[in-house]
Amino acid sequence: MRRYDLIVIGMGLAGLTAARTAVEMGAKILIVGRGMGSLTLFGNTIDLLGEITPGTDMEAGVMSWTATHPDHPYARTGWAGIAEALVAFREFFPPPYTFAPVGGGNSLVPTGAGTVRPTYLLPVTMTAGVGISSEDTLIVSFRGFKDFQGDTVSLHLRCRGVNLSLPRYGLEGVTALAFARLMDEEPFRESLGEAIRRQLAGERRIGLPAVLGLRNPAGVMATLEAVTGAKVFEIPMLPPSIPGARIFRRLREELIAKGATFLMGNPVIGATLKNGRCEGITVQNPPLKTVYSADCYVLATGRFLGGGLWADMERVSEPLFHIPVSQPATRGEWFRERFFQPEAHPIHRAGIVTDAALRPVDEGGKVVLENLWAAGSILAHHQAIEEKSREGIDIATGFLAAKRALAP
């Protein structure tokens, strides 16, 4: 049986961040995910805390937030922890494809629903989308590309929109991945840029669906900008998220290059616990069950969609280690009266409560398993969707969990 320093369970941004942090520290690690994780579902931009007014200082904003939300994951990491983790993330994406805030803090980016939403770090391919106006922006969509409805986007953003045909595809339906792949080809994007240029009527910015290539998105943007003479930006849209896939691929490449064992596609079906410690986890690839062991474990399995939390008719549980889940006292309190309300439904705050080092604790505050840390959206007392804090929580807690787990 093989022995690792650290096993990370979960392949979303939190798990991948924990794994990367650990290999940077020289640890021998294994990362296991039942699937590809959530980066192709979200992962377009790096949200930190959408509540903070755009243009205001993030540090002050997060500090005052944690003062009134003492149970929030950010209260565990502190601003220093967030800042350190974000620096590590940003350094991982050197020029030309970088992540950075526009202005000092949050900024508003257009979305595939035609809304604008606050976010913190933007890939360089999205920055020109901040602060668009009706007169200066053209929204371009494509016939046969169903994931991006340009009419809706341009209508709601009050910009002019055009719907173009793709040079090489008919109406049969091109997928986001196929589109992004075509964009990686220089001649294709040049001819596409030329087709867009002919549609310009004085606009100085061009909004496109977020498919500007997988391999060299900054290069794709540069070509389009050179051909059109306008600023080009990507608009996040329906899954699969191509910007998320870029983050996933980059992290996977790095982990494998640094010697991590990367297991994707099978669930962890059980854990062996002894004397208050986890001794091993069992991965099932039918008909085989394989046990992997490590000195410590990071649980980053997400919430209900990722399988990190499990709900039956009455209770929410953590299905793998059976560690306590903070949740509303009764089923009747799971949801608010109306589905669409500004406040999150209480069930969305359910999750794992931890100590300051991110080790899961029980109702009495006692550490449940000595060598288990938790990271990402499985943590309790956040409302990642409403707060717009998903990636920030993933990165900050994934980073901290690995640091604490491997601390001497």
């Binding site: 093989r2 022995r3 294994l30 995910g33 039942r34 699937g35 590809m36 994780g37 959530s38 192709t40 579902l41 046969g144 595809y169 049969e172 339906g173 997928t175 986001a176 991945l177 196929a178 792949r181 329906l238 899954p239 699969p240 998220s241 191509i242 896939a245 691929r249 490449e253 494998i256 290059a257 010697g259 064992t261 990367f262 297991l263 994707m264 596609g265 099978n266 669930p267 962890v268 079906i269 059980g270 854990a271 062996t272 616990l273 002894k274 069992t282 991965v283 690839n285 039918p286 008909p287 085989l288 969609l305 990722g306 399988g307 499990w310 549980s317 299905p319 793998l320 280690f321 059976h322």
Partner: protein, 405 residues
């Protein structure tokens, strides 16, 4: 104490497990290059909701799935997408009847031995433009596809002619697979040399084609038959306490994970527990401190490509880890998904262009790395990379064998 994951696993054919998250659409190599295949989400669970055993198939694009299984590896909901596709493909082909070409191609194991015997005549014929034109027109085997050469003697004949090495070393059995036997015998020789260098006495039990080509054309009955025969000849080996290693990740995936869960063959799980990828096995030995084999320096730039079926085996990248033990070898993973060959898929005239287009991304990734050599555990990937890059392409164990002291 052992905790069991409470997350229930619904029946494997139940399409509603799919939440339409589209993660598989970020992985499918076929829908990445052609709009004619709607992708795993729609072809698998999406269309499954409309399929009925009583009605005839209407989804003719189902044939375009290469069975690479990448969709299965990325699905966060555990939907057996490729299996849904496979079942639909089997039904579709059952209704239409198998073509002579497919009937012939999946029997490569039968004519392979014969072709190897007469390889000095067969190989030039396979390169003859008139023959290729005829194969293209009559059998729809694309004439642009390089056909693999046959080698004589076969691996099995070579092995049988060696003096029996009864040196009291622990025994290990080797499943070589058809392609090693008749087309790439050096892979088999490398496996034997490497295993012997690690202190084993190698045995090659009787074996047939694993059956994965038959699965690829939807012939479940044929695949089951091959599986039954292999189990009958391999189970006695594992029952006497001998582990079996394979060097082809596709044969290995078939033997280890399809005989049981998909084909319900008795004894499949017992075989699976004693069956290992050769690099996985050697790496285990090393981690358990049971070997002190070291390699001599080989300062060279190598590109390693992980096959789709290796990803489905889900054992990490043991070959890459072993290659890193060769001093001076600068080996890096090729950042590309799927070579596109899809086994017999890429030989078929109507699918050649798709296979080539998928492979283009891999070929470009290799060109950017500019390696002196390309390595892959899968014979299909090796064939495709050879054709697309014109570079030397080997199985990792061939390079490891050459680096033995």
């Amino acid at each position: 104490m052992t905790t069991q994951n409470d997350t229930r696993t619904p029946p494997r054919t139940f399409p509603d497990v799919c939440v339409r998250c589209a993660t598989c659409m970020a992985a499918c190599p076929v829908s990445r290059v052609t709009p004619h295949f709607p992708g795993p989400k729609q072809a698998g669970p999406g269309a499954q909701r409309f399929r009925s055993a009583a009605e005839s198939s209407v989804d003719d694009w189902i044939e375009l799935c290469t069975s690479c299984r990448l969709c299965d590896t990325v699905c966060p909901a555990g939907v057996p997408i490729s299996e849904l596709n496979l079942m639909a493909k089997a039904k579709y082909l059952d209704e239409r009847g198998i073509t002579f070409r497919d009937w012939l191609l999946v029997r490569g194991d039968l004519f392979g031995e014969m072709a190897a015997r007469f390889s000095s005549y067969v190989n030039p014929l396979m390169k003859n433009p008139t023959v290729r034109w005829l194969l293209d027109k009559l059998l729809q085997i694309d004439r642009r596809r390089d056909l693999p050469c046959y080698e004589y003697p076969t691996f099995r004949q070579w092995f049988g002619a060696r003096p029996a090495a009864d040196n009291g070393n622990p025994k290990i059995a080797y499943f070589y697979g058809c392609f090693t036997n008749t087309n790439e015998t050096d892979v088999g020789k490398a496996a034997v040399a490497l295993l012997e260098a690690h202190g084993f006495s190698v045995d090659v039990p009787p074996q047939r084609c694993c059956g994965i080509p038959r699965l690829g054309v939807g012939d479940l009955r044929g695949a089951k038959e091959m599986g039954g025969r292999n189990l009958a000849s391999l189970l006695p080996t594992v029952r006497e306490g001998t582990d079996i290693v394979f060097s082809s990740t596709s044969c290995g995936l078939m033997l280890r994970h399809e005989y049981g869960p998909l084909l319900n063959l008795p004894g499949a799980e017992e075989l699976a527990r004693h069956l290992f990828d050769i690099c996985e096995y050697l790496l285990h030995l090393r981690e358990e401190g049971k070997t002190d084999v070291t390699f001599r320096p080989n300062p060279m730039k190598a590109a390693y490509f992980a096959s789709c079926h290796l990803k489905s085996l889900n054992i990490g990248l043991p070959a890459l880890e072993l290659l890193r033990l060769v001093p001076g070898l600068d080996v890096r993973l090729v950042e590309a998904e799927c070579c596109g060959l899809g086994g017999l898929y890429g030989f078929k005239k109507e699918k050649f262009a798709i296979a080539e287009e998928i492979g283009k991304d891999l070929a470009e990734a290799v060109a950017r790395m500019a390696p002196e050599i390309v390595l892959s555990d899968c014979e299909g990937c090796r064939m495709q990379i050879r054709q697309l890059t014109k570079r030397t392409v080997l199985h990792p164990i061939q390079l490891l064998r050459d680096a033995l002291l």
